[in-house]
């Protein structure tokens, strides 16, 4: 009897202990936090290997979610209205609204502390100043930011008229100067090649017009006139002391560009579904290798498309794209590529929200992301599995590893880049390797299929950006101007004008491309455009620019 009692007591004690142990364990448990980006992206699998490693290291597992079906504005709008926020957020164009609603945590106190030195290091004081709203920093853009401001890129991340290398090879690697040259080349190639080897019909040119991605059809006129990507306006520097805002939508170049597209459409070279395709359909189309050329940003298509080419061995057929930087007339300089500089876009970035119960921990997490070992883990992977280190300390990958990283099944279950969290381009802290594998010279060429290498060799280039043949030159402190227009909302006259201009262009641009009578369609479009009062918007941009130069 007694022994039974003792047994029971022991059991009770043990259970009590167990419960305590349980509590203690709970404290150490990994926090499951959320991140939302007002962008399209693909979710990684639960239990992703590198994600788990990061979770063990930091105590935080971040579930990344992306836009699904809705537009970015609608997504952020409903988040603002409901007040249900994830711990981390990148609000894109809606960042300003999140701040205005008081949902974001200010960074300033953290940046001042030594334990957040990594975050502080991301930008110079002058650059941080650009992010300030009423004296406080609420987010930091993680893209186009090289370690210590020294980019090393063989890539070209921006907008261009892209062309498949097989077309260039077929024409014996010609020089393309103008828009007319570009379409002439596509036309000539298409005249002799109507279908691919697998029987799919070749589409000489397509043009994405969906939602915010309609920049693919919309903003080429600024480049064709030789200006860099200020995005919403041209900054004319004819009088260097007095920069002037110019609307690129109404220039003679714009008219000629759309007239050209109209001509291309009438010749049957334009994808008949160009205006109605969704982004997914567009990507699927490009991934088959059927599209010879398009105007787009590298980051908008290349990741998925190149991986698909690689996975299906289509890169060996010369389907890869290289960028071209045509101008409207011969003999003009162009600024498609603005040189090896980072572009600071202060309009959006990663932010910590007021829904986060432990902001201190959140900032520690962001800070940790920039430690070299963590950065390597995110972008290079696990040493031995995803990359090897040679005797000189240089990272490299075997072909097998490269193939794996191009396989979406593998990357979903293994790789976790947390790409919208603080990251760097450029050289890594060891001075030998690059922060991102794509920037490493050896990796850059090793990953390429023969036709692409041949194309680089034929032109004597060793980086994508050389294809653009842009003039070097410093961009103004205002660059890019789109950071001042992206956040405009309908509560001001400039914002209303900006919104309506966007809507009008969205509706009209595809219509003028398919119009039977281009001239009358263009006039109608210009009339509709004038009704939006673009002068209100342009005045606002001019004022913003003037104030910026003054300060």
């Amino acid at each position: 009897m007694k022994s039974k009692k003792i047994f029971a007591l022991t059991m009770a004690c043990m259970m009590g202990l167990g419960a305590f142990a349980g509590c203690a364990k709970k404290k150490d448990e990994i926090l499951n936090w959320n991140f939302f980006a007002a962008m399209h992206g693909s979710e990684i699998n639960d239990g992703n290997e590198i994600q788990e490693l990061i979770a063990k290291d930091t105590g935080i597992r971040v579930k990344e979610t992306w836009l699904a079906g809705q537009t970015s504005a609608e997504a952020i709008g409903s988040i603002v209205a409901s007040g249900e926020l994830p711990e981390f957020i990148d609000g894109g164009d809606g960042s300003e609204e999140l701040y205005k609603a008081g949902y974001l945590v200010a960074w300033d106190d953290y940046l001042a502390k030594p334990e957040f030195a990594n975050l502080k290091e991301m930008y110079s004081d002058k650059e941080w100043e650009m992010f300030k709203h009423e004296g406080h920093i609420y987010w930091a853009n993680v893209f186009q930011n090289s370690y210590q401001g020294k980019p090393v890129s063989h890539g070209f991340n921006d907008e261009a008229f892209w062309i498949q290398v097989r077309v260039l090879e077929w024409a014996n690697y010609p020089t393309i100067d103008t828009l007319d040259d570009y379409f002439k080349l596509l036309e000539d190639y298409y005249a002799e090649n109507k279908t691919n080897a697998d029987g799919t019909k070749i589409i000489p040119y397509t043009c994405l017009c969906e939602d915010w991605r309609y920049f693919c059809i919309e903003n080429a006129p600024q480049f064709l006139d030789g200006y860099p990507n200020d995005g919403s306006v041209i900054v004319n520097l004819d009088d260097p002391n007095n920069p002037k805002i110019v609307d690129y939508n109404t220039t003679p170049t714009a008219k000629r560009y759309f007239a050209k597209l109209n001509e291309v459409y009438k010749k049957g070279m334009m994808d008949p579904e160009f205006a109605i395709q969704t982004y997914d359909e567009y990507m699927a189309k490009l991934s088959t290798g059927a599209v010879l050329g398009m105007c787009d940003q590298w980051w908008d298509f290349a990741g998925t498309v190149n991986d698909n080419f690689k996975a299906n061995k289509l890169d060996e057929k010369g389907y890869n794209y290289v960028p071209l930087g045509p101008t409207i007339d011969k003999g003009m300089t162009n600024r498609w590529y603005i040189g090896a500089t980072d572009t600071l876009n202060s309009a959006s970035g990663i932010a910590v929200t007021t829904s986060c119960k432990d902001p201190d921990k959140a900032f520690k997490f962001l800070n940790r992301m920039l430690d070299q070992d963590m950065h390597n883990l995110r972008f290079w992977g696990i040493e031995g599995t995803d990359y090897l280190v040679d005797e000189n300390g240089i990272f490299y990958r075997t072909q097998e590893m490269r193939d794996k990283w191009a396989d979406s099944n593998y990357t979903k279950s293994h790789c976790c880049m947390y790409a919208y969290f603080p990251q760097y381009g450029g050289m890594s802290r060891d001075g030998k390797n690059t922060m991102q594998p794509g920037d490493s010279t050896s990796e850059f060429f090793a990953g390429m299929a023969d036709p692409l290498v041949k194309c680089f060799k034929a032109y004597g280039y060793d980086s994508y950006n050389q294809f653009l043949r842009s003039t070097d030159g410093i961009v103004g402190i205002w660059y890019p101007m789109y950071q001042f227009s992206n956040n405009l909302k309908t509560d001001t006259d400039a914002g209303v004008a900006w919104t309506k201009m966007g809507e009008t262009k969205h509706t009209w641009l595809p219509q003028i491309v398919v119009a039977d009578d281009f001239e009358s369609a263009w006039n109608e479009y210009m009339a509709a455009y004038a009704d939006c009062k673009p002068e209100e918007f342009l005045k606002y941009m001019q004022d913003t620019l003037d104030n910026l130069i003054k300060s």
């Binding site: 504005a73 952020i76 579904e273």
Partner: protein, 314 residues
């Protein structure tokens, strides 16, 4: 009559009290619904005040600047909004007419089928699409009508089209596409209520008509359709208020730059401005306008129904 007249007020009061006591359970249940209605339908109307403010989330409903009719003025000077109203009303009317006619037609045809098994089978299959969500239906419609879709393949192979037609690149096809999608999805479901009404028509009428030598067509014309008349009117009155709810999902999911001028509805406008551009005041103003039109339509149609001496809602 005389008894009622001689009742004293005291007796009447007593009677009312007794009546109340007798029906207390019913009253409690009814009260619940009244409360529900107040909480979910009337209290939110308070938010309409936003339409007259320059509402900012940070300032809240009490702190936002009052701007009077600014947003209404904005709406009616906005070409987009005018177009959006047109789209909504046109699509609403087309949908209403198309779904009503097909549902009645289908119900009558189905009623004429004598084989019970076949009838049940057709009925079940035809109302199943009702349970699909619009996202699925639009997916099917979008794929079927794409350049490489079934429809194009069929018509090209039958030599009806010379080459594939890009249905979503033409403004003029969009309203019919929406109407057909609605018809495909809802005909079977809507036919149920008409079928039920038809079965309640006295069979003696049909027998008598047969005796007088009426054929099928005549029976439909002179017995079935008049029998359906009151149901049709009531359903029309109820649905007329929905004309302004011409849809959101179909248009939202099937739209693109080309057809946006004909596809945007009031609901989409409210979403883009209200939520997307976070101009809650403008969104609310558009919503109020929509409610107003809806109310006018119902009252008007009810009035017409009353005039013609038919069934009415209120």
């Amino acid at each position: 009559m005389s008894l009622m007249g001689t009742r004293s007020p005291a007796l009447k009061e007593k009677n009312t009290k007794a009546e109340l006591k007798r029906q207390r359970v019913l009253l409690i249940i009814a009260a619940l619904f009244v409360v529900y209605g107040i909480v979910f339908y009337y209290l939110p109307l308070f938010g309409w005040i936003m339409a007259f403010q320059n509402y900012k989330i940070k300032d809240g409903i009490f702190g936002s600047e009052f701007v009077g009719l600014r947003w209404f003025k904005f709406l009616f000077s906005d070409q987009t909004f005018i177009r959006v109203i047109r789209n909504t009303l046109c699509m609403g009317v087309i949908n209403l007419v198309a779904t009503t006619i097909t549902a009645i037609g289908f119900a009558i045809l189905l009623n004429e089928v004598r084989n019970t098994f076949g009838k049940k089978l057709v009925q079940t299959i035809s109302y199943l699409p009702h349970f699909l969500s619009w996202i699925v239906v639009t997916g099917i419609v979008h794929d079927a009508l794409s350049i490489n879709g079934v429809v194009n393949e069929l018509f090209v192979n039958l030599h009806i089209f010379d080459e594939p037609v890009s249905f979503f690149s033409h403004k003029e096809y969009f309203w019919p596409i929406v109407a057909l999608s609605n018809v495909w999805k809802e005909t079977g479901w809507n036919a149920i209520i008409y079928l039920a009404t038809i079965t309640s028509i006295d069979p003696a009428l049909y027998e008598a008509a047969a005796m007088d030598g009426a054929g099928r067509w005549q029976k439909i014309k002179h017995i079935t359709l008049p029998g359906l008349r009151s149901t049709i009117i009531i359903l029309l009155i109820m649905n007329i208020g929905n004309v302004i709810n011409a849809g959101f999902e179909v248009q939202y999911l099937l739209t693109n730059g080309f057809i946006k001028p004909v596809s945007e509805t009031i609901d989409i406008y409210v979403l883009t401005y209200g939520v997307g551009k976070m101009n809650y005041s403008l969104g609310t103003a558009a919503g109020i306008f929509k409610t107003f039109v809806s109310l006018v339509l119902i009252v008007l149609f009810n009035f017409i129904a009353k005039k013609t001496g038919d069934e009415r809602l209120f």
